[in-house]
Amino acid sequence: MSSETGKILTTDGIPLEVSLKKAERKNKIKAFLLVAPLLLFLLITYIFPIGDMLMRSVDDKMVTEMLPKTYKSMEKWDGKELPPEEVFESFYLDFQKLVEEKRDGKLSTQLNYTKNGFKSILKKLRRKAKNFEEGNYKEQIMAVHQRWADVEYWRAIQRRAPAYTSQKYLKGIDMYKNEEGNIVNVEEDRRIHRILWLRTLEIAFFVTLLCFLMAYPIAHLLATLPMKYSNLLMICVLLPFWTSLLVRTASWMILLQQQGVVNDFFVMIGLVADDNRPEMMFNKTGTYVAMTQILLPFMVLPLYSVMKTISPSLMRAGKSLGGTPFIAFWKVYFPLTIPGIGAGCLLVFILAIGYYITPALVGGASGTLISNQIAYHMKSTLDWSFASAMGLMLLAGVLAIYWVYNKLVGVDNIKLG
């Protein structure tokens, strides 16, 4: 059916190429339509809200919206000397409007964050402003309190003009923008967040390491034992994996408490005196022990699924070629398990870095992590924008780890169970 031009036609007379493309496109649309419901659902309920977190974390429109006229008139002010009459007048008008709407309290809280001392002078201004005469507001406002004649305070108001701020992110790493606009560290004794970030990294790192050291031998044993024994032992890994996180945390709380089983055992074998039982819970020890046990299956399972595919004859070949068992293991077996190690470590590290429940229950004050701080700001201080900022910093970290891992090993070999 080929024509002179060399094009192959279908029975309908349409070139085959076109017909194929059409069919291809139809299939593409069909496949996409199947994915679309879930994709849309996740975009609306999950991905966009994460974007919303981003907006919240940088949003600083509150003051900008409360003083619209002031900021408009301030555009021409260079900030070197006291602002002109125009600025004072628009500030007075904005402020009167806020007082009418009873929102001046919020303004004073917000401005007080930027510079201490605003609260009292705004209060005084509210009292005096009732008797203000029309015109010459500059004189009248400056007469209320000497600080109103201080250019520093007007600069502080000006600093709140931008609708977006990086302040919450800086706070998350214990820094702030000072009055000159430079980014500086907060005082030594008030740096709490950096300690938390470091502690989170430290705990996640050591938990991953401990999990690896414990999981490697048992995954190897499970992979090399005959099926009927390994199935039985596999239950020891899978039962904790399927058991509720809270149940496992509860069991550690029972074990680690001062009158608990572990302490009883230590006393029994004479390791510690009965009246001097060590505190093993509500500190870092508790967090380490409980988190390692809880995350261990996540390391064993990927390791096992990789080790299962390694033929035992490889080790035998290594040995028969003159290697000692250790050399054969190190040169042949170990390199083959690296994808499993990568997957397990990634999984455990990412889970550990965002852990919340276990540290909150057994961690006490010295064993809590960054997620606990996020939850604290969400539920107790209600500083949602700060919680969002910290959450996004954590998310950025997780995504970075994921990206590096993908470059090094590839994500495709993550398996479940």
Binding site: I254, L392, V398
Partner: protein, 284 residues
């Protein structure tokens, strides 16, 4: 793991060392769960083994805390269990339907931007739960669904679908597409083909994905803590409050029930995995 007779002493020592280490690790993994069993039958109010229990005195054991769990005053566990099951069942249904359909699309070789879409679909599994919790809370608060069952079910569908997507795409990767083509050529419409041919073959994958989704929802506490009101309390929330405030033996009774439940789920999951491997012709 018997050693051959010619093994040198140092390797023999190493081998026994290795077995000892493995035994310790297995013990570390499983033993904590078994502490809960005997203590939940404690006749006294303490969370450590009493003298009577150590001597296996029958009077030291009782069903007191199980009775308290079921008939106790104020009894938060009944409502919590009811809520947990309702939420988990609906969340599982939602996850399974959305996830399976999406996995069918994703497994098609015509799917455009496969990597990007897959990454989006499984993102709730990668993003730390606390962040998911904050994001979902913002959405539910705006949509007016905070402190409602619907809100929690939707949240758990978000968290559960990645598991279904992963298990079902894995099952579909070994799927022989010529059987569906055969069905179509014999005059079956796509829905009929799916129900009669595809679904029965991928069912083990769908069910094990559903089990993951069920357990995720049933155990989930971080997101629910943000979303739940007093009416929506679930078993994990009750346990969380109990563990934070006063560690009572009633919690251990509940924990024992949960361990039994997870054992049942484990057995089901294992049986399904083996069946799926047999169906896909993977022999080990």
């Amino acid at each position: 793991m018997a050693l051959p007779k010619y093994t040198e002493t140092r390797y023999r020592v190493w081998h026994y060392f290795y077995i000892t280490i493995c035994t310790c690790v297995f013990f570390f993994l499983i033993a904590p769960l078994f502490v809960i069993f005997p203590l939940s039958f404690n006749a006294e109010e303490f969370l450590s083994f009493s003298e009577g229990m150590k001597n296996l005195d029958p009077d030291a054991f009782s069903l007191r805390w199980y009775k308290d769990m079921i008939y106790g005053t104020k009894n938060p566990w009944g409502l919590a269990a009811k809520n947990s099951f309702i939420i988990a069942i609906f969340a599982t249904l939602g996850s399974v339907i959305l996830g399976t359909v999406a996995a069918l699309g994703l497994s098609s070789r015509h799917m455009p931007y496969k990597g990007l879409i897959m990454a989006t679909l499984i993102s709730p599994m990668i993003v730390p739960l606390i962040i998911s919790g904050v994001a979902i809370f913002f959405f539910m608060a705006k949509a007016g669904l905070a402190a409602t069952h619907t809100g929690i079910v939707l949240a758990h569908i978000i968290l559960g679908t990645p598991f279904v997507v992963i298990t079902v795409t894995a099952t579909l990767s070994g799927f022989d597409h010529s059987v569906t083509r055969a069905a179509s050529s014999l005059g079956s419409d796509p829905v009929n083909t799916f129900m009669k041919i595809t679904l029965p073959l991928i069912l083990p994958g769908v069910i094990s994905g559903g089990l993951f989704a069920f357990v995720t929802s049933f155990d989930e506490v971080v997101v629910v803590l943000f979303l739940a009101g007093l009416e929506n309390t679930t078993i994990p929330i009750q346990m969380w409050t109990g563990l934070r405030e006063q560690l009572s033996p009633t919690i251990l009774a509940v924990a024992t029930c949960l361990i039994i439940l997870s054992t049942l789920i484990l057995v089901t999951a294992e049986l399904l995995r083996r069946r799926s491997e047999r169906l896909r012709g993977i022999n080990r």
